[in-house]
Symmetry: C2
Subunit: 365 residues, 2 copies
Amino acid sequence: MTLAAARTLRVAVSPAYDVDVSPGLLDDAGRFISEKNVALIADSTVRHLYGHELTDVLVGAGKTVKVVTFTPGEGSKNLPTYGRVIGDLASAGLGRDAAVVALGGGVTGDLAGFVAATYLRGIAYYQLPTSLLAMVDSSVGGKTGVDLPEGKNLVGAFWQPRAVLADVKTLESLPARELRQGAAEVFKTGLIGDPALADFAASQIVPAATGRGPLPSEDVLVDAVARSVAVKAAIVAADERELGVRAHLNLGHTLGHAMEAASRFALPHGDAVLYGIVFAALLGRRRGYADLVQSLAQVVKGLSPDPLPAFELDDLLPYLARDKKVVGGRPRFVLLADMGEPVVVDDVTEAEMRGAWSELEEMMR
Amino acid sequence: MTLAAARTLRVAVSPAYDVDVSPGLLDDAGRFISEKNVALIADSTVRHLYGHELTDVLVGAGKTVKVVTFTPGEGSKNLPTYGRVIGDLASAGLGRDAAVVALGGGVTGDLAGFVAATYLRGIAYYQLPTSLLAMVDSSVGGKTGVDLPEGKNLVGAFWQPRAVLADVKTLESLPARELRQGAAEVFKTGLIGDPALADFAASQIVPAATGRGPLPSEDVLVDAVARSVAVKAAIVAADERELGVRAHLNLGHTLGHAMEAASRFALPHGDAVLYGIVFAALLGRRRGYADLVQSLAQVVKGLSPDPLPAFELDDLLPYLARDKKVVGGRPRFVLLADMGEPVVVDDVTEAEMRGAWSELEEMMR
């Protein structure tokens, strides 16, 4: 057995919890979960990959495990699936002393977290993310929820996990396209809070994320996850309910969410955020902020996201108008005054959006 | 215009809010609601009685009002109705700066409160209870949620209103059966925290609640609501998340919830709790606590609840086993050591339950 890199990050929300980042953590999961009765929620793919083994680990640690599965994909992150999963917990007779264990990517974490937040008005839950995106994004912040036909994440709750176990060994099974979504998030996190991390993501993870290189070493993965979590944890701890600086994390998300919804989620989250980041750079240049358009566009192109969908801006405006970040009818954007210097703007006009969208199309098509 | 009784009770949860109790408050609702965009949620009966007028009041106060209605009754307190209502908010494009206004009884407050708790991960809401039960029970405590086929209130969240406006004039339209449900709750609240209030409820509200007398005066109604809210607010403020003394409020609820669920909600909440209170007195007598059986049973009979359903205890045990209050597989009961002295017990055996159930059947059938 090699002594691999391991990092523990404290997320100082209320109540505080730890994010443990290390290869092989799943084999040791029983040690972190104090509840005896556990609902293990996973999609059918992840159940097949890791669920049976994790069940054995938990049963071996003396726990009673109820396994609940659902069809993989963002299409399952909806109220009907939520209703079925929460009904399964009720049928199993789980009480307030039970815990939800979410094993999988962001969809699983969001869905299972919302189940935990609302079953019996809230029970304990643990996140065991198996994708890079879930490790660096949805595992910190306490956001849980599901989509509505009208848009992404329109239903949900803030609910903090008891602990997050990020076993980077699970990234070995991650398709390159999924790795890219996580790389996009590490890149974005670097842009708003740790410019060196943005460079690190571009140089160390992009090759693997585009299938042009092997998976980075476990040390590199642990480092990328831990540094991203550190940036995000500091922001979230300063603003647990998303009333202020936490909005910075939404860099690229205003346009990104609208594109995801308008594409009926055919365009994956990270790719949509990448386009959203360039869009934000274009808006920022129009306002006289530092011109980051070319340098950011180069990294985005290097990540080879799925092609920019053939939308008109008019296709996106209805989604932009109903974004959660809307204030007084105008969508809220996060722009970059410079690398590592996010600013929130509430007064972007339709004309500015049309201009930036034309430029984005020209650059990315 | 008469200068009627008016009381304001502070509920010191986080964030704190006021319960205003007064006749005619609905005419003045615009003054209490600071948000410009409002979703007014009511069942179709209450919409007809008060919703149109309230809409006029709110529009007159400069607000934009989206009215969302649903079919009256506990049968609407479920995930499908929740999904439809929250979808209506999304279709209307309401943002985080909007507020939910819940106009109606307990079902409306619980359902609309859960919508407010989870729409965009939580927006402001106001409770405008129009039943005595909603005024004294569900308007304090921050409990929101819906039922599952497996049992009552199995899904939900803690979410505090910005304000509660209890307009006792709305009680004039309340059927006697519904008034009885509220009288039962006032009685229960007195039993655990204000024995004089229990006497007051029995003498002042029971006659009207059983159709044997006129509706009490507005002064009496304001007094009953305000004193109940005061007891409940003190308990809830001491234990916002229901980890300790707040359990006392569940006097009569362990058996009550099981009977409601087993009857498919044909037995109304207050009536079920009344039987639950006598059941608790029977369990308490078996344990050597003060013998309150006859005195409580007399008040309960005086309230003429719907007949005790023809259950065997075996019909109720599955519901008792999956109650939210289950700890280590055993249902948790609140008993009375004496008037105003609730105690929580976790170790009631099946034999004790069987004995008490037989006695209850004998007394109440």
